[in-house]
Symmetry: C2
Subunit: 587 residues, 2 copies
Amino acid sequence: MGGILQRIQSPADVRRLSLSQLNELADEVRAALIRTVVVTGGHLGPNLGFVEATIALHHVFGFPTDKIVFDVSHQCYTHKMLTGRKRAFLDESHYGEFTGFTNPNESEYDLFRAGHTSQSVSLACGLAKARDLQGARHNVIAVLGDGSLSGGEAFEGLDNAAELGGNLIVVFNDNDMSIAPNSGGVYANLAELRASNGACEQNFFRALGLDYRYVENGNSVEALVAAFEQVRDIDHPIVVHIHTTKGKGYEWAERNPEAAHMIPPMFDPKASASAAKEVPLTYQQITRDYLSKKMAKDKSVVVVNAGAPSGVGLTPEFRASCGAQFVDTGITEQHAAAFSAGLARGGAKPVFMVMATFAQRAFDQFVQELGLNRSPATVLIFGAGFYDIDATHAGTFDVVLTGNVPGITCLAPATRQEYLSMLDWSIDQSERPVVIRVPEKVLSGSDHAFNPKRPGGWHVVERGKGIAFLSLGSTVELAHRASSLLHERDGISASIIEALNYSSFDEPLLDSLLGDHDMVVTLEAGILCGGFGEKVARYFGKTPMRVLCYGGKKEFLDRVPTEEFFKIYHFTPEDIAADIEALLAQM
Amino acid sequence: MGGILQRIQSPADVRRLSLSQLNELADEVRAALIRTVVVTGGHLGPNLGFVEATIALHHVFGFPTDKIVFDVSHQCYTHKMLTGRKRAFLDESHYGEFTGFTNPNESEYDLFRAGHTSQSVSLACGLAKARDLQGARHNVIAVLGDGSLSGGEAFEGLDNAAELGGNLIVVFNDNDMSIAPNSGGVYANLAELRASNGACEQNFFRALGLDYRYVENGNSVEALVAAFEQVRDIDHPIVVHIHTTKGKGYEWAERNPEAAHMIPPMFDPKASASAAKEVPLTYQQITRDYLSKKMAKDKSVVVVNAGAPSGVGLTPEFRASCGAQFVDTGITEQHAAAFSAGLARGGAKPVFMVMATFAQRAFDQFVQELGLNRSPATVLIFGAGFYDIDATHAGTFDVVLTGNVPGITCLAPATRQEYLSMLDWSIDQSERPVVIRVPEKVLSGSDHAFNPKRPGGWHVVERGKGIAFLSLGSTVELAHRASSLLHERDGISASIIEALNYSSFDEPLLDSLLGDHDMVVTLEAGILCGGFGEKVARYFGKTPMRVLCYGGKKEFLDRVPTEEFFKIYHFTPEDIAADIEALLAQM
């Protein structure tokens, strides 16, 4: 175990090191990163590439007086090690103690919680302008990756930065890779800049009015320290373009940059290929299998992804197999949604596959280009629901995002059969945009529960009386279990209904409940505010029907184990049954 | 009245005209535009600048086989005249018959409804890709204005276009003006391109890998026809940068490009200055007056706007008076929201002023940079609520957008006094982001209704029993009127409560209603789905309380007179009172 990292208590200690000590520190940090991340899982490649840059930044600048903002912040592990959090990388008993992103709750050196892309320059512009209004003089640094550059917000920030003026240093970390290979015309310019040592005529950053400097060896402490010393205390915005290697120093990661972008816990690169075959059936796989066959039969089907293929199951092999029927638009949810609308209007059959958390970027396009224009695109939302995940990546807002927009048909299949028949119907129809909320769990059910002739219809799984469960997606499992308890304990035969469509109500079915039910219980894996259950409560508001809604509170869940928050939300069969019994006793 | 325009029945007629006839047509179109728009109101300047380009496009290309997508589409009036809709510009009895934006319901030459900015290239990319998948060969044209270029979605589209390849012609209409003067570093590059006849070294479009051509006289039919003929049927994406004059041919409009961007009906430029003094007091004016005093006292207050100052009352005079305390970020709602978060974190006091319809672009930033980070920025949402307006500009989704996001305090003042005390409290606090929903109507009320020590508290205007009205914003007026009717006709003394905070409930107050009320009536000027009333319905779902929610259906209202949809929504005192009476009779 190297001795320098052990002695670093704060960035002040990094500032005092010699260049050769900084290099030793880089070796120690890299070794700790590899040792730890293969156990804990996390963003391996991005962090390995940014070790030297982080050390050079902490050597040259004076944080926290100077301010640094990381984009996405998945490359901040070295920064955490140098700012009082190294135990999480050196001491197994502290592994996982800190989040994988910057977090002001952890440290004064972290200014923002981040996790989505392309916002660092905007945030840094705000810090810089605030400094200038107050007459202060520190440096403001934004770290921006080449992948994040494809997101329009990064352009907006860079464009505004040039005009705001004042000190602002954008460290542009170019490892020639997004999560997957980069997509976009600007990447040819970056390649040209790298090839010409930053000296080629055409320069995207200069075209925005920004000063510019290039560092070819972005993994050389010496080169980085020299460059950062030259721009420290600069009086105007500048981009320092550094060429780094994703996965630097770990051979497998350098050779497999997409796989090494983020690795699971207890990772074994040798085992990873064979292990993939053993995982249980997922909707990612079900979707790939379906789309492969569909695309072969219909050349107008085109899969669209906005620079985040892994979460939605778009493996490199699958993408390659699609040929011209796959488009990665870069990290551009706004564009990808509008592009899908254009594809649909042009007679193609787009399937836009997106994670719930990132779909948030496209709200306006859901309203305008999809809903208002009734563009018959299919949007598959993955990762929607309740997960034990960092708050920055919560997928609980998708029903708010889609279910309240006129003109969009929003479907929530509960079973694999429902999912596949919805997907097939949606791709081939040409009337309307359809959002399918891909369920959390793969359940089995009837082949005929979804009726394409009546896409607003819900599915009655059990017709009972007194109490009716209305479930969204795979929460139908929870309905069954709560219902069983009520049956066993109280002799109640509840109705169980899958609300297959959450953009409109199966009103005849709901109205029929008024005859022989006096309580409706809604279940959804998502935030209750603005969600599905509230609409049911409003529907029955003027009737004597009692409505109990189960789902998430309006809060950010931050790496909370599901069992823990399910208990708090009463999102368990026992709690639900007990709540119902208590309410029945009152009524 | 000129004779050529009269003879144009469809674009085929434009294709047959000689250059001199095209010039005559331009004169006739321009005269018709001026004559009509000063009566009907509308986007005068943008349309006057784009007369020749539209005529040249229709002369060179073969629409509707070739496809054209207008950005924002506020410059499409000439296109409408040439595609079978000229009567709306020539015959007073048909004035206003068509919308001010492209609309597929009107014409097969209009491919999309548009109204927000920066989406044309994305939509055109979709059309082009769909064409290529189907092996068709027509031209796809996107019209993009220089103002719209500041929006990140335009960058995303241009960046993707270069990579998609295939025929795509971006007509970049550069009149050196957004709604207001342009903001952003890229505009210096555009100025350089204009000054060098498109030949300068640095070129933003070429940096994105796009082919490029420049036309200095973008109001010359000859120059435009020549340029478009050269790029027709091109096999790769190209930007045709045309330099036009906003307001061309109408001296007042050329000299006053911001005022002439959009003019009101029955416009008289001579009277406009003095008339401004006679308009009733607005929240735009109240806000300006307040901010002027506040900024003078506190230099850390900074007003942020995303390229759309007019709707929120940021007049040129006011902006100039702010000095460094005003930032126009360009048409960049995503960046503007994140920038505000950065300002707040840096110790400044940002006030981001935005129209409800445009705020939709910033949903993810509301969640991440504002809500999750609890950045103490103030966001003032103007234009929220029910207006007789084009569907593209609906301001009915803002409560969905803000009220369902954890961490944001959302305030809905009903009166001027409440608004001012909320605004003052919000700017000076440093705990949380605050959204203030600026009311539609200026009402007067108590100076002490909003209690800064309890920002979650609601205001009981009348304490009655049986029925309680819960109103959001200036709908309290409707509550008073409905309540009066109930009092007169049925002797009911209802409670009237202003729900001053729609991000959280005044639970003690709501619970107290259970004792002596059996009906709650919610009122909100906005879509009910995902809105305020639904949350109230859920809150009372398990109780015997009946809940009636009044607000908007989930639909796009498209230039519908308010009285008309108020009647459909039962958003009138008479309808509400009658509904309540009917329900009481049933209970």
